[in-house]
């Protein structure tokens, strides 16, 4: 499931500092809910991990050891140790461990470049955590939390259903 241009276009207008503030709030909430989240990163904690949603004009750069997230407007030259590119919903599904990164790599829905040790460690750290964006982020909506939970849940279900494409052709033989 891709974000339609009609929804991503307004992001060109929203000031980056505002998007960054919202992202920091969300990142802080997730880090608080999962204190051991980056324990598996070991020596890769201070590295710069870039996530580029292919359907948004934005890029997100995370330094886990500093609990730091910055937002850049795409296209831009990204300075990062490892870069992951995929549609936004797949990046979010990977964060929750609801999709298998290798399968997305095989299908070319996801691409990775840069330091593969760092990237693998990040992938495994996220997969080992039990991040649940619906649960973890809905609280940010305060009194509107139940509505936020429902909306996030519905979008997620739709995106995951979309991802489960029918299997390919018959098995190949040697």
């Amino acid at each position: 499931m891709l974000i339609p241009p009609i929804l991503s276009a307004p992001l060109h207008m929203i000031p980056i500092p505002l998007i960054e503030r919202i992202c920091r709030l969300m990142f802080g909430r997730i880090a608080k809910a999962h204190p051991g989240l980056f324990e598996r990163l070991d020596e890769h904690r201070q590295k710069r991990f870039a996530f580029l949603p292919t359907d948004l004009p934005l890029a997100f750069v995370v330094v886990p050891g500093r609990e730091e997230i910055s937002v850049l407007r795409q296209p831009v030259e990204i300075e990062a140790d490892a870069i992951t590119e995929a549609p936004l919903f797949l990046l979010l599904a990977l964060m929750e461990g609801r999709c298998d990164a290798d399968a997305l790599f095989f299908s070319r829905d996801l691409s990775v470049t840069g330091d593969m040790e760092a990237m693998l460690a990040m992938r495994n750290a996220l997969d080992a955590s039990n991040i649940d964006l619906q649960k973890d982020l809905a609280k940010l909506a305060g009194p509107l939390a139940p509505i936020a939970r429902r909306v996030i849940g519905e979008i997620r279900d739709r995106a995951l259903k979309d991802q489960n494409r029918p299997a390919g052709e018959a098995a190949a033989w040697n």
């Binding site: 999709c99 070319r108 040790e117 990040m122």
Partner: protein, 325 residues
Amino acid sequence: MELICPAGTPAAFHEAVDAGADAVYCGFRDETNARNFPGLNFSREELREAIAYAKRKGTQTFVALNTFMRAGAEEIWYKGAADAVALGADALILADFGLMAHVAEKYPEQRLHVSVQASASNPDAINFLVDAFNAQRVVLPRTLTIADIARIGKNIRCEMEVFVFGGLCVMAEGRCSLSSYATGKSPNMNGVCSPASHVRYRKDGGELVSELGEFTINRFPAGEAAGYPTLCKGRFDIADSNGYAFEDPVSLDVMGELEALKAAGVKALKIEGRQRGKAYVAEVVSTMKAALNSPPDRRAPLLARLRTMSEGQKTTSGAYEKRWR
């Protein structure tokens, strides 16, 4: 037949147990295990919790200490074995004869399985390990045909476990030196076929280029399903041709041969994939469990959906039903 399922993290372990695994295999976060990838595997505490969870659900836990000991550093492996035994592992999966001897002597009650990495692929080799170290099960290499397995089964004094789904190793396992040659690191000593430290992906126009050390392993044109940057599944220029020298990027799937494997005397079916995510583990284990409980003619449609999760989005029955090129 038992279903033996992989887990690289506690989260994947829980998924495997919940999806109906008869046993889950996993390893410590160090060089004792042949899936020693960054961020993967279990601390002692995580393994303790995982084993307790599995026991509550009636699932067994096998601990893989399946690399070869480094001379002078045997303590790392001995400590791994001691801890796995103390934590209540139902079986240890071992490849190194020295470690097998140590475990057989120190923990004679501990169930010992011969790892595929030990490359025990004929009755003499297997019976030697049974007699010398009281091995109770052998995991057979993926280089045998079903007829070979049946012949071996008739002549050995332990159980047989075979790989039925997931990554496909095409060599005599435990003996492959391809990645040692290219990177100085090997699956047998360092627990990696394509060490992440030596893997690079880059885009070249529409192509995805995968490299391992100084070698280009593959160039995938836009739209073509990709594979791991493993030397044995690389596309190379050989004389005047360009193609896969050993094997295509493809995954193993012999679930279509369940009846034949059962008739051959196979006791347990193993799913490869400790390096895969928990979503993969949940999907593959539940699908395989459903397939095992279905009549043969209902299995194919169930299993078809796993193909998109496979390397190169293709599956093969490999050597089990070898058709030479």
